[in-house]
């Protein structure tokens, strides 16, 4: 019985490649890469007569590495322009945690006062406790800021039944 996986993509890569709409040359790519590394038309400058082929290949490799480095650097600098909005939302998150702590403290204090009839006492007390809760909230939020969509995309994909292969 033929393996049903052979004509589909492995699950881990499935989503990414499908999203890029890059179906062409999926299977040839490995062959192309191998062919390129021994490409005689590659940059074959100042080849040492002793090492001839090897130094040419090294040159080829270093130029390709440089190109790849440049590409990744460009890819990393791309999301910088969204940084401002992300910082803004982080700041907004911290301040809303703080304000919420004080608000709830004040509300609870006011409620207790209304019930017992000692108006300013518990309001002041719980406002102070609410202030503490706000600081606690804020420090927690700062230490455990939820991941941004970009960070989440870098996290490992959901596990897909690995026993299936065996």
């Amino acid at each position: 019985m033929p393996n049903p996986r052979l004509d589909t993509l492995p699950p881990r890569n499935y989503q990414e490649r499908a999203l890029k709409r890059d179906f062409s040359g999926l299977f040839e790519r490995g062959v192309v890469d191998m062919a390129r590394s021994v490409d005689p038309k590659g940059p074959k400058t100042e080849s040492d007569p002793k090492f001839g082929d090897i130094s040419a290949r090294l040159n080829d490799l270093s130029t390709r590495l440089a190109a790849e480095k440049k590409q990744t650097a460009q890819a990393e600098s791309a999301p910088k322009q969204y940084q401002g909005a992300s910082d803004y939302s982080k700041g907004y998150r911290l301040i809303s945690e703080f304000v919420a702590g004080i608000l709830v403290g004040g509300l609870v204090g006011f409620g207790v006062d209304k019930l017992i009839g000692t108006l300013p006492l518990f309001l002041i007390l719980f406002l102070l406790i609410g202030f503490g809760a706000g600081i606690l909230n804020m420090s927690r939020a700062a230490n455990r800021t939820p991941p941004t969509p970009e960070e989440l995309a870098k996290m490992p994909k959901p596990r897909i039944d690995e026993n299936e292969d065996k």
């Binding site: 709409r21 909005a85 919420a100």
Partner: protein, 250 residues
Amino acid sequence: MVNDPIHQFRIHNIFGPWNIFGFEIGFTNSNLFMGIIVAVITGFLLLTARKGSLVPGRLQSVGEMWYGLIHNMVDNVLGEEGMAFFPLVFSLFSFVLVANMLGMFPYFFTVTSHVIVTASLAVFVVALVIVVGIAKHGLGWFRLFVPHGVPMAILPFISLIEIISFLSRPISLGLRLFGNMLAGHIVLKVFAGFVVSLVALGLGGIIGSLAPLLMAVALTALEFLVAALQAFVFAILTCVYLNDALHPSH
């Protein structure tokens, strides 16, 4: 007043109001847009899932990304056992996202710019945390308010702070979404209003109005980003809070 930046948030009855049990209840523009939001989400997801092909097309990819984003998030924050909450988190995220995005259309009503809507969603989430926590762990769930390694002398004080901190969650969750949407729409309206007022001044005003016009365009882009980001933040904080229901000791 033409340039009233608050006017866009006014709620008015489309049908009614009817007198139901002594309350005046009508079908408002907010209700209408909530209905539209649900219709848009349902329609869009049905449309994207219609084919269900193994190799997704463009439209199906969007639907799968939408689903996959929330699936990843719930899996990463809550783990395997938290998958029961996936439908809830997905619904919340979709509702908030589509509400924010529909609000960006001119003349559309922004449902999430009213604190009563966002606060209801937030209170629902935190109430669910309490119910699930007690159902799963019994009274042991209240360990959440008793941190480890705190001296007995200040424990009541710390517990009080923890309780207030817990109670402030729905406020901060709802307030943040509401505040972002309200402030963004008002700022946008004010800058757009500057353009109109400056153009009315004559030639110099027309040249001068270019600055607020550019600002309004830039702010529109920012608002789209904020709309998506706030929906995402709402969903992920829901996950983080639900995590407390599943694993109270921290």
